[in-house]
């Protein structure tokens, strides 16, 4: 689905361009929306290709997925739309990639977010997984590159990982499609409620937690229906400009109406206009 030329240029000239507001995603004729997040070079694009049958370019270097790739797959009569987000190490700082991923998780409202992690570098990859879990509860962790881990003599206890994180974790080797059926099944189970996720939230020092607790009800009043007021509170306490503006301009409160906004190409968000 491509926006018309007029809509496109309107988006381009809108002052709110490249901010949170424009990340609305129309669900089209898909039953569920699944986001793929992960560190760079963890095989995210391989997972995407294996599931969708598309052939998005895969290369052994970081930062290939500069556009948000979209594709779909069907599983047990339901259709899933899969969105491959740019690979990022975190969702905290304001780099373009991180913002695209973050905004999509926040405003695209995926039914499920798959965080692809590198089994050979689990600790570093979990940093991102934990941050995603602060934004959304519906997370499946896909522990990819299990073959490389085995080759390096690294064993990952996926069940223990899943228990500690509070979300399902599935071991995979995306290149050989190992474990992908289980992944798809887990995504379906999580969405249907057959599997319940209770993600752990990083335990912050008590004075931070009390500040968060104080802000959360205020935010919920200001933007009713916002599912992740806790995350917004953390961002506000960090002085995050984009989130401040989103709250001020009512974009956070308007989340519901964002759902039906026309889909917009990430490429235009990345365009330099208005940023020179």
């Amino acid at each position: 689905m491509t926006p018309t030329a007029a809509a496109y240029s309107n988006c381009e000239t809108c002052p709110a361009h490249a901010q949170l507001a424009q990340m609305g995603v129309s669900l089209g004729k898909f039953d569920y929306l699944v986001a793929l997040a992960g560190n760079p070079n963890t095989g995210k694009s391989s997972v995407f290709n294996a599931l969708t049958g598309l052939r998005q370019h895969v290369g052994n270097w970081t930062g290939k997925t500069v556009m948000r790739a979209e594709g779909g797959y069907a599983f047990q009569t339901l259709r899933y739309k899969l969105v491959d987000l740019p690979g990022t190490y975190s969702l905290l700082s304001a780099s373009e990639d991180e913002e695209i991923s973050r905004n999509f998780l926040l405003f695209g409202r995926p039914d499920c977010t798959v965080v692809v992690v590198d089994a050979t570098a689990l600790e570093r990859n979990l940093n991102l997984a934990l941050q995603v879990m602060e934004i959304t509860d519906r997370v499946v962790v896909c522990v990819n590159l299990m073959d490389e881990a085995r080759r390096k003599g690294i064993e990952v206890d996926v069940r223990s990982l899943s228990r500690d994180l509070g979300v399902p974790a599935v071991p995979t080797v995306a290149r050989t499609k190992e474990g992908l059926h289980e992944l798809v099944q887990t995504i379906a189970d999580l969405i249907s409620g057959a599997v319940i996720s209770k993600p752990v939230h990083p335990s912050h020092p008590p004075e931070l937690e009390s500040a968060v607790d104080e802000l959360v009800p205020l935010i919920e009043q200001s933007a009713p229906g916002l599912p992740n007021a806790r995350w917004v509170a953390l961002r506000l306490l960090d002085g995050d400009h984009k989130v401040r503006q989103a709250l001020l301009s009512g974009e956070l409160a308007d989340l519901e109406s964002q759902q039906s906004a026309p889909m917009e190409e990430i490429s235009s968000v990345v365009a330099l206009q208005g940023r020179q």
Partner: protein, 464 residues
């Protein structure tokens, strides 16, 4: 605060108040609790086997990214790739050219038998079809060899090492280290290289990468460079060394291109795009065994066929335009000849000639067709020549058109530096959405091309 509906400003005020109470190390504190949690969880679920295998990755990296050996190894690999391409492409190119020529003469004979008017036969077969067959036979074999080799390096994980090796050079010139990666993509296609600059976050550094991407020769220009290197440089060496000399010359041109990339980046970073080079982390991924099927798919379908198709789409109309220019006569002189004469003085000043410049004007849509266009105008018979071997091209250029070593060198330089093709210009527009930067992106290389070739021609004429 008892309001039922908190308005956003109140929330922000409260947040700011709390933020001041907490102190400004907030970010550090959440990050450290995040990292602590990640470490705790990872420690509980990961066991590293005692018999951990040798870490080949690190050993290899120590060599290919070493300060001493890194660059020579890189150049060696580059030279090897070009050498394989040059040696491997020559024969299939000739076979294809001969095959297309048979098809063409058969078709022309048939058309003549059927009584089709001569100008239709000429237009279709000697114009459009010959343009197409030239592009296919000159471009397809080198691409079908070069792209898989490039993709193997990419899948193996070598590209980030290249970026790592070149990082300091780009930072010295005030650009982003990742520009080494986008430059590498530019060898495939400059338009792809321009799109790849999205990996660079800073708009300033991204613009530098966009504007200078054109200075590395894309796949469309490699056949021109390879042909010139084979005809002029290799011919000066004994046959046994000819292919090495040709590969060496192409590597030399590539190095000059990298030099101009750095020079132009440096100039931009000190004039219109001033600023500090930003730091970034570049992850060196593990070496992975490339999957053969995927390499073939990516390089042959995604890249080769894509680029070839584009060339065909532009070669067909260009072939038609050349045919028309060469066949419409005013006062007994063809339009092509008139335009070439008009450009001749400018061409001479930069060591080329009017025909070459005219070919570049006609070939703006795609650089791939510069050489066939040029030969076709030289032949002056309103159709591309049916020369099928490099030897015949050499005879035509040197003996009939008076080419010298200066012409060859300056054509290589001009081909390397001149304005980007139409596709790349459109891509620059799409990426920057700025008429100003698009214009600069198109004209700056052209200015470089004229300045450098003019300087070389002048010096050559003074000293040689």
């Amino acid at each position: 605060m008892t309001a039922k509906v908190a308005d956003p400003k109140t929330v922000l005020l409260r947040a700011d108040h709390l933020r001041r109470q907490i102190g400004d190390d907030f970010r550090d504190r959440i990050v450290s609790s995040l990292y602590a949690d990640a470490r705790r969880i990872a420690d509980r679920s990961v066991r590293v086997g005692a018999e951990q295998k040798w870490d080949w990755d690190q050993k290899v990296d120590r060599i290919v990214t070493s300060p001493v050996l890194g660059l020579p190894i890189m150049l060696g690999i580059l030279a090897l790739v070009f050498w394989i391409t040059i040696v491997g492409a020559n024969y299939p190119s000739q076979m294809l050219a001969e095959f297309f020529f048979v098809v063409e003469s058969t078709a022309v004979a048939l058309f003549t038998d059927w009584g089709v008017p001569a100008w239709i036969t000429g237009f279709i077969w000697n114009g459009v079809f010959r343009g197409l067959s030239w592009v296919v036979s000159v471009m397809l074999p080198p691409m079908a060899i070069f792209f898989p080799l490039f993709t193997i390096l990419e899948d193996l994980g070598y590209l980030p090492r290249v970026a790592f090796n070149l990082d300091w050079l780009f930072r010295k010139s005030g650009a982003h280290g990742k520009q080494a990666l986008t430059m590498a993509m530019g060898f495939g296609c400059n338009a792809a290289g321009v799109t790849a600059t999205r990996v660079i976050d800073s708009p300033r550094e991204r613009l530098i990468a966009i504007l200078t991407n054109n200075f590395v020769p894309c796949n469309g220009r490699f056949p021109t460079l390879i042909m010139l290197a084979t005809i002029f440089v290799a011919a000066a060496f004994p046959p046994a060394f000819a292919s090495f000399a040709a590969a060496g010359a192409v590597v030399g041109v590539v190095l000059i291109g990298v030099g101009f990339t750095l020079l132009a980046s440096w100039l931009l970073a000190r004039t219109v795009l001033q600023g500090e080079a930003s730091a970034f982390t570049l992850e060196l991924p593990p070496y992975r065994r490339p999957s053969i099927l995927r390499i073939l798919y990516t390089s042959l379908i995604d890249r080769t066929i894509f680029v070839l198709w584009r060339a065909i789409m532009t070669a067909a109309p260009a072939g038609a335009v050349i045919w028309i220019l060469a066949n419409i006569n005013i006062a007994g002189v063809s339009l092509a000849q008139r335009s070439a004469d008009f450009l001749d003085l400018l061409g001479f000043a930069i060591g080329l000639d009017g025909v070459i410049l005219l070919a570049y004007v006609i070939a703006i849509p795609a650089n791939e067709i510069v050489v066939p266009t040029m030969l076709m105008i030289y032949m002056g018979v309103g159709m591309m020549s049916d020369v099928t071997s490099y030897g015949e091209i050499r005879t035509l250029l040197v003996e009939q058109q008076g080419w010298t070593m200066l012409t060859a060198i300056n054509l290589m330089l001009f081909s390397l530096l001149h304005n980007p093709c139409a596709t790349t210009i459109i891509t620059i527009w799409k990426e920057t959405r700025s008429a100003r930067w698009t214009t600069i992106g198109a004209l700056m290389p052209l200015a470089f091309a004229f300045a450098v070739t003019f300087a070389v021609a002048t010096l050559w004429r003074i000293f040689a």
